[in-house]
């Protein structure tokens, strides 16, 4: 299954990735990162089509997209 990885220490919790994900597979964590933001997290085992929309909108370039062949 395709998935994304989020570099949580660079994430500012802006939520732009959450609104574009067609699979609703991204959420904000309840935890804080070192900068004090609630980072985005990929819901474990959630659907991902590797469409890259989240990557496109992320201002902090902290999303990496992995595609299952």
């Amino acid at each position: 299954m395709s998935k994304i990885e989020i570099i949580t220490e660079k994430c500012k919790g802006c939520g732009l990735c959450i609104i574009v994900c067609p699979k609703k597979s991204i959420q904000l964590s309840k935890n804080f990162n070192k900068a004090g933001y609630h980072p985005a997290v990929f819901v474990e085992g959630a659907d991902c089509t590797a469409c890259g929309l989240c990557f496109q909108v992320c201002p902090d370039v902290c999303i990496e997209v992995y595609k299952d062949k």
């Binding site: 395709s2 660079k10 500012k12 939520g15 890259g52 909108v57 997209v65």
Partner: protein, 245 residues
């Protein structure tokens, strides 16, 4: 599993100091990807502005020169003329390019300097706390237009692409936005073309990017992209304003 999307070599891993949701970060990625796809990283020299992007040298993984406020096109002219083999671009906000640097912008364009200009229009002075810029919309509230911009008092929003389109020396002008994935992909195409034009020696190319500034606009990131789509683009229509063959 194959990694298909991540930052490219021209962007450092350094975290950006921009506010959450700020358009600058997206535009940095598009510039970096364009340079990497064209294989230009080792011969690129960027000129950073005064403004929120003043630390661009910390984010880009190629040579970057700082310039006094508004003067990147003059610095770029000098560098490109002594090193025509380099790819030289400026990265400027609207306060930088369209207020204090108006003369440098217009004359570099009019001379047809073979440089690339990435113009980030966020309708205010971001770094200093959201003051009115020449590009502020009619009725838009800012720190220095608390009742909204009134054209009788402050004049009209300055439309840089339209203004420069009459100049003979200009090769390419396009206005894009980074409010959603479709617009971001279109912005990438425009930025890449503006660099390709320089490789091809076509002359002055400028891409105006309408960019969200959620913090100084007093909006959530979500509302700021909505404002770009509902209000900003109505005052500053997207499109190609010049494309010399």
């Amino acid at each position: 599993m194959k990694k298909i999307l991540s930052k490219t070599e021209s962007l450092k891993a350094t975290p950006h100091l921009y506010c959450p949701g700020c358009g600058h970060g997206i535009i940095h990625r598009l510039v970096a990807e364009s340079i990497d796809e064209l294989g230009l990283r080792e011969k690129t020299i960027g000129i950073a502005p005064v403004g929120c992007a003043v630390f661009a040298y910390d984010y880009f993984n190629f040579d970057v020169s700082e310039a006094p406020h508004g003067r990147p096109p003059a610095v770029a002219t000098g560098i490109k003329r002594v090193r025509p083999d380099k790819i030289v671009f400026t990265y400027q906000g609207d306060g930088d390019l369209a207020a204090i640097g108006t003369a440098e912008t217009i004359h570099a364009a009019n001379r047809g300097e073979n440089i690339t200009v990435i113009f980030v229009n966020n309708a205010n002075y971001g770094m200093t706390g959201g003051q009115m810029a020449p590009t502020t919309l009619i009725g838009q509230k800012t720190a220095t237009s608390p009742y909204g911009r009134d054209p009788k008092r402050e004049g009209y929003p300055m439309k840089v692409c339209e203004l420069l389109s009459s100049l003979e020396g200009v090769a390419y002008l396009e206005r894009v936005s980074v409010s959603n994935p479709k617009n971001i992909i279109s912005a990438k195409r425009a930025i890449k073309k503006a660099f390709q034009n320089q490789v091809d020696g076509k002359g002055f190319s400028l891409v105006e990017v309408l960019s969200q500034c959620p913090v100084d606009w007093g909006m959530t990131p979500q509302n700021s992209i909505k404002w770009v789509e509902d209000v900003f683009v109505k005052a500053f229509p997207l499109g190609v304003y010049k494309d010399k063959k």
